[in-house]
Symmetry: C2
Subunit: 201 residues, 2 copies
Amino acid sequence: MQVSETSEKRSLRDRTRLAMRDEVSTIATRLFAEQGCTNTTVEQIAAEAGLSRTTFFRYFGTKEDVVLTWIEDLGPQLVEAFVARPTTETPWHSLRRSFDVLLQINADAPQKALDFERMLEANPTMRARRREKQHEWEKLLRPVVATRLTGDVPADQDPRPRVLVASAVECWNAALDTWRRCDAAVSREVLLDRAMDTLSA
Amino acid sequence: MQVSETSEKRSLRDRTRLAMRDEVSTIATRLFAEQGCTNTTVEQIAAEAGLSRTTFFRYFGTKEDVVLTWIEDLGPQLVEAFVARPTTETPWHSLRRSFDVLLQINADAPQKALDFERMLEANPTMRARRREKQHEWEKLLRPVVATRLTGDVPADQDPRPRVLVASAVECWNAALDTWRRCDAAVSREVLLDRAMDTLSA
DNA sequence: CCCGAAGTGATACTGAGTACCAGACTGGCA
DNA sequence: TGCCAGTCTGGTACTCAGTATCACTTCGGG
């Protein structure tokens, strides 16, 4: 009883926290779109969201994080998707299938995804931060990809897991980038296939 | 006569400027190694190099640039190396051969290269900046790689040049990273081959 | 000898990110 | 009911990167 009560409280707190994050994130996204990322200060975001600058930095490590934290959460999902693939597949193909997780995001609201990409495109710092988040994906994926590789080279002299994962992520980014550049004239799925087929052939 | 005099002056100035850059860069490298990048302020570097903070930022756009600017200069060299390769080669193999340019750097002073990698490893900001510099390589390489590809897909819907170039750079980074992790037990060349062979097979 | 261009340094400013402290809220316990 | 401890919050002050501005010097050319 106490335990469940405590856990309910916990989840309540977490839910409040998540709701807060979402709200601030929405406001920040709007401000970034309206006046550009660099022209928007943390002060301003905090003011509009009704919290202090101090509290803002308790919720988000950096100014950019306010619109990028959700990317971190995808790492475990990608790992889960990868390990669920049959081991008979090539690691590359399993990675491709894992990325279906990414394709599902905003699949029903492409305009939202497009706006997001356009925002990133306008700001080098933002792009760099995203790449850092994706780097966390890579750190999680590497070990599970490694279990699917064979060879007589010692693990600490084997660049293959790193290469496969990093290149796959770059394929994803290339697909997204091309998608933005052609104004979503071709689906992300087709572009991702084109991208990843480039290296498997 | 006037022209040559002017151009000599120019080159003199440029040489002074380059010498200055080198000197400041050397000092900064030492400081970064001694006390870490984040613990070293621009103020400190400028003081030791005998110039003002203002002038420092005239020479280097950011604090990290002081030890990373040389990376930018490699872009044109990579392009030159690529276009010099026979068009009968696969683009991937031509990229591999272009990276011989990178392998030649500090080939005779591996310890220096190793120290550099270790410095980068300790600092996420530094790594991100390097990736940005390498992104400039990619922008230069993409068009020349594109000329070596055939296909019926419109150029603005074709992620292949992006994918090839970005993945090749990631292979280079994976090779460097593995090289550092195994304390240079295997040569960068072998590791780069292993990395790039992972994707061509 | 003067003139203009380029390089330099001092000062001041913005804004991100950090550290610290003090008050408010809450849930548990006597 | 009243107290206690942990957590959340806001305020203040600080460091430091990066930018803008202005005044001073240097130096080559007319």
